[in-house]
């Protein structure tokens, strides 16, 4: 009886029913996304002390980040590294995604699996895996000395910016490949046949039809990789040495080593602002709904 009246009550108020059915999702978003974000922003106005975070409202953290150029430089260094890594992944990943999506017929599933198999291994281990390749006693130096090209192992492969780039590209490659693959997969063959039919040679058909139609995947994959790399700290920690340090390392240190959480929050906020700026720039080229929903 009560249940029937409740059902009738909701039936006369469709908006309320919708709100109720969305409630669990909204609560989840508030608790796990909006809440921490607000907490982070609020923490930047607090002070860290040996007693933990103290709500002593001030702008010390903001002044510090604005006055000391080292943090801005590090932020832009991270931005540069992540943009270069993103570009490298898109340039290397596009042909790979293209082959899997449009050329491979029988081995499509196998090839996709091969892209993913490394992801069954922790990315810490995948980063370490570069040691026996790039290290002083690694494969490259072994080959170079073995061939007599150098008389002493070289140190220039590991613990610098180059190895950070290499590590990040290898670690985040699938996050770029998969969105591109999905967008290429979705393009009907008829568009390419139409282009050829209208006189477009393969290269022009690619430039005028396939590339623009796969742009959502390209931008989506690029954003994915960019967001992951700009905040990366494990790979630069393991492969970077002193020259390969990124802002993510400093932020991680504020939470792990020095326990200056309010300062860590401030640096995170700065990184988030830059990240949002890049997303905004990308969304001016391709609408976000197009990237994630595939709508025209």
């Amino acid at each position: 009886m009560v249940r029937r009246r409740l059902v009738r009550f909701l039936a006369t108020r469709p908006g309320l029913g919708l709100a109720l059915s969305l409630l669990p999702g909204i609560v989840c978003l508030l608790v796990f996304v909006a809440g921490p974000l607000v907490a982070m922003v609020v923490s930047t106005f607090w002070t860290s002390s040996i007693d933990g975070m103290v709500p002593a409202w001030n702008l010390d953290n903001h002044r510090r980040i604005a006055s000391d150029p080292i943090f801005t430089r590090l932020l832009f260094k991270s931005l540069r590294i992540s943009l270069v890594v993103t570009l490298a992944i898109l340039v290397l990943g596009y042909p790979l995604a293209y082959v899997i999506a449009r050329k491979a017929t029988r081995f499509k599933a196998l090839l996709l699996l091969l892209v993913f198999i490394p992801y069954w291994i922790s990315y810490v281990i995948r980063s370490y895996a570069w040691y026996p390749i790039l290290g002083r006693e690694g494969a490259i130096n072994y080959a170079l000395t073995g061939l007599g090209l150098v008389d002493r192992p070289l140190d220039l492969f590991l613990f610098n910016e180059f190895s950070v780039h290499l590590g990040l590209v290898s670690v985040f490659m699938p996050f770029g490949v998969v969105p591109i693959y999905l967008s290429l997969e979705r393009i009907p063959q008829a568009y390419l046949e139409a282009a050829a039919d209208l006189g477009a040679r393969p290269l022009r058909s690619f430039v005028h039809v396939l590339l623009p139609l796969s742009l959502p995947g390209l931008v989506g994959g690029g954003l994915m990789v960019f967001i992951l790399t700009i905040g990366a700290y494990v790979t630069p920690q393991l492969l970077g040495g002193p020259g390969g340090i990124m802002l993510g390392n400093i932020i991680a240190d504020q939470f792990g080593a020095t326990f200056n959480w309010t300062w860590g929050g401030t640096l995170s906020l700065a990184m988030m602002v830059v990240t949002l700026g890049v997303i905004w720039l990308a969304s001016r080229r391709v609408r976000i709904s197009q990237i994630f929903l595939g709508t025209p």
């Binding site: 046949e193 050829a196 039919d197 209208l198 040679r201 022009r204 139609l213």
Partner: protein, 376 residues
């Protein structure tokens, strides 16, 4: 009416020729050594049920599929392995396949841009083409803002603007609803008349093929059963398949019992002998098991005993009367011989209240010229 954009030389000849064209998928012959010659400016339909090889044939002409044997000649030039982008044919796709990221103008201009024509000429030709398909002013719209019928007009414009030797249309109206389809059929016919380009039209809709075409090639299991004018395809089908596939037909099994300028066939368990003077019937031998085929509109009905007595005659009982406005459809039960469907224009028997009634005994008669006979 706009004049044709192509100033085509009036030399006679074939725009398209297929010689023994073959395509295999595994052991299946999708297209089985078909030959066909299409004259300049002709509207030819390739008609057949799904899986008959008609689309494969079209795709080979376009260059999307490589033939396993035979030749394709465009204005006498062998196509061989020429890629699609070097063939002077253009295709209208069933799915329209308009580039979704380009405006109507950019879609229609695509082919001309690929040929690097000057911008002012491209603009002129695109606008002219949009007038021909009666969508002027649509230049800046995007494909998804158009209705299905409008999209297909743009599809036609995008192909025709290149002034191809042959325009290939792959079931272009298949995705449209009936009303739009009917209107687009007339549109296509008008456009064909205006531009004077050869149209090859693939469809499984026999009515559409009859409405649109000068000639129809009926395909079945990878082979062309008959290429003929629409009139002959309907009136003088050469095979049982064509007779059955095009239009409605009555089929009575029987046996040839004599030849006298035509053939005589005994049907209905020996009860009736019908004669055929149709040209195609001459080929069957006495004693052969055959099908007798009669179109429903060729049969006249009279009350039994009225004695019209011309041509072939059978008696039966009216089973069903379906009044369809301009026509009346009867089903006449012939007993062991089966049933006959009869189409009669309305107004035939106003003296008896306009319609026959179920249960009435009737004599069905039809001329020997309209009696088709096919070996079983």
């Amino acid at each position: 009416m706009a004049s044709a954009p192509t100033a085509r030389p009036a030399t006679p000849g074939f725009d398209l020729e297929l010689r023994e064209l073959t395509k295999r998928y595994g052991s299946m012959r999708a297209v089985d050594a078909i030959s066909l010659a299409v004259e300049r400016g002709e509207f030819l339909s390739i008609l057949g049920p799904s899986g008959c090889g008609k689309t494969t044939t079209l795709r080979m002409v376009a260059g999307f599929e490589r033939p396993d044997g035979g030749e394709i000649l465009l204005q006498g030039v062998r196509m061989g392995a020429t890629p699609p982008y070097e063939r002077n044919v253009n295709t209208v796709f069933q799915s329209y396949a308009l580039f979704p990221h380009m405006t109507v103008f950019d879609n229609v201009a695509f082919g001309l841009r690929m040929r690097r024509l000057p911008a002012d000429e491209i603009g002129r030709r695109v606008r002219r083409m949009l007038e021909i398909v009666e969508l002027p002013g649509y230049e800046r719209r995007l494909p998804h803002q158009l209705s299905g019928g409008e999209q297909q007009r743009i599809g036609v414009a995008r192909a025709l603007v290149n002034e191809p030797t042959v325009l290939l249309l792959d079931e272009p109206l298949g995705a449209l609803d009936l009303k739009v389809r009917k209107r687009m059929q007339l549109e296509l016919k008008r456009i064909h008349r205006e531009v004077g380009i050869t149209f090859i039209y693939v469809t499984h809709d026999q009515e559409e093929a009859l409405v649109l075409s000068d000639r129809v090639a009926v395909m079945h299991q990878g082979r062309i059963e008959q290429v003929d004018t629409t009139f002959n395809i309907y009136e003088h089908p050469r095979t049982m398949f064509v007779a059955d596939f095009i239009g409605e037909s009555n089929t009575l099994p029987g046996e040839v019992v004599g030849r006298d300028g035509g053939v005589a066939v005994r049907c209905a368990g020996g009860a009736v002998v019908v004669r055929s003077r149709e040209a195609g019937a001459a080929a069957v031998a006495v004693g052969a098991a055959v099908h007798v085929v009669v179109r429903p509109e060729k049969i006249a009905l009279a009350l039994a005993g009225a004695g019209r007595g011309e041509g072939n005659q059978v008696t039966g009982t009216v089973r069903e009367v379906v009044f369809q406005g301009t026509s009346v459809r009867y089903v006449v039960d012939l007993g062991v011989a089966g049933t006959l469907a009869v189409h009669e224009p309305n107004g035939q028997r106003l003296d008896v209240g306009g319609l026959l009634k179920p249960g009435q005994e009737v004599e069905a008669s039809w001329p020997p010229d309209a009696t088709l006979v096919f070996a079983r």
